[in-house]
Amino acid sequence: MNTAITIAGVEFKNPVMTASGTFGSGMEYSNFVDLNKLGAVVTKGVANVPWPGNPTPRVAETYGGMLNAIGLQNPGIDVFIERDIPFLQKYDTKIIVNVCGKTVEDYLEVVDRLADTPVDMLEINVSCPNVKEGAIAFGQKADCLYDITSQIKKHAKQPVIMKLSPNVTDITEMAKAAEAAGADAISLINTITGMKIDIHKRAFALANKTGGLSGPAIKPVAVRMVYQAANAVKIPVIGMGGIATAEDAIEFILAGATAVAVGAMNFVNPYTVEEIVTGIERYMERYHVTDIRELIGAVK
């Protein structure tokens, strides 16, 4: 049975990754999950300098999901290179670093700093709904996305994944813009912008007022967008959005995802990501699938 997949020349032992921001840099979950079993660890977004993030409350539960407005708190690239990369290097898994910034220059600085590190791929976060400047602005207009992607591609030594926002009118336009600018892959969906009001306190549940919705509640939207994007471009698609089980992961793969990432469900069940790896193998045995690649985009 083959579960390995390849994206931009990088081979992953299986298509299961962690979604950025839900797994730290793997340290916190290494008590629960054998990181060696994962296709890749995708780190929490890192910027050129430390970011303090948003005020609390930063999280709120919603029906079948949750809202977050962490605001990309991160310790900055220096600490990340010194502490997080050496930690991940101890494991037999691929390292994908999520990169965030407020200006194009911020992104380029991080990309340059990572050039000589043993990082396998970069995921560019142009879709965070919770920071005011930069970030999502680059991900909501096709020409801006094209511009930042092509600039990053000129600097990046590793293959580049552009992480797309679902908060757009036409996801295929964004996918095509990333592809045209030279992106090696795209990942989607980031969270869907949402809001919750506490009727007892008559106040917003989040200090940031709005937040990104994730969890099983958003899965059908994510599957639809992965399907649309995968059919609009030739580059690989990494699918995510509410994946809780191996069955969910298979659904994304059938819709066209070459790999999948597990996000909010890590918070619910810290063993999820490893359970999905074994669950996919069980599905393949049951349906006599010898190569996972047969399943990618198999539902047209």
């Binding site: 921001g21 839900t22 797994f23 730290g24 916190e28 979950y29 008590n31 629960f32 929490k44 430390p50 970011w51 303090p52 993030g53 609390t56 409350p57 930063r58 999280v59 709120a60 539960e61 029906y63 079948g64 999901g65 949750m66 977050n68 962490i70 708190q73 310790p75 900055g76 600490v79 969890g215 099983p216 909010a264 469900m265 890590n266 918070f267 619910v268 069940n269 810290p270 063993y271």
Partner: protein, 262 residues
Amino acid sequence: MAQKKTCGSVFSQQEIAPDIYDMWITTELAQDAAAGQFIAVYPKNKSTLLPRPISICEVDREENRLRIVYRIAGSGTKEFSSYEVGESIQILGVLGNGFPQDVMKKMAQEGKTAFLMGGGIGIPPMLQLAKELSCDKKIIVGYRDSQLFLREDLDKYGEVYIATEDGSAGTKGNVMNAIDENGLKADVIFACGPMPMLRAIKQYAETEGIDAYISLEERMACGVGACLGCVCKTKEKDHHSHVNNARICTDGPVFEGKEVDI
């Protein structure tokens, strides 16, 4: 023992004040639990995904049991309150750093006096602390009214002073008023309760020149330090965030008062 998600069962449950429930859970997590730590309990209703962080009220290692005393605050805790004896429950634990064992040990050796201050649903962790701490203890607890839950349990481990908002028992007012009225003094404070109370305690400790260890609370998602949802502002840059944002779930929930900006 490493943290884990495990299955426990309800050993007993009763309502001890309006909307306040007292539950003993049989779980092996009891072996590693200490005062000030917490567990996260999962509702069964699948529309509510996140586990509920609840402080540990009492630990019985011999019987492998943990006691939680919680208030119904929403649909999750409402569901817990309906559990009958024998109900199985999923728990993530043991989480967080409890009250500092080294400080507690030193206080016992040096014969110091401690204030154990609890307000409302911040009272429960004071019980296990009172059991573990073997120095002179003045237990000062604040309630809304005369529903003095856990009072008899606390009586066994130290002198108990009561404050009630409506004046129906003890000092009228809050725990600070109870300190004043009874002319109490301590060398160290341990506290858990609502934010205004913790702010007042932090200020009092700074004025008195004594240490205060306070247990903080915030909306949480993962409980294990990954999501960065439950942060509090700190005076010094902490080793993890490098942006003066300690994680309440893993760096806390107990912090030294002067270290946090609340």
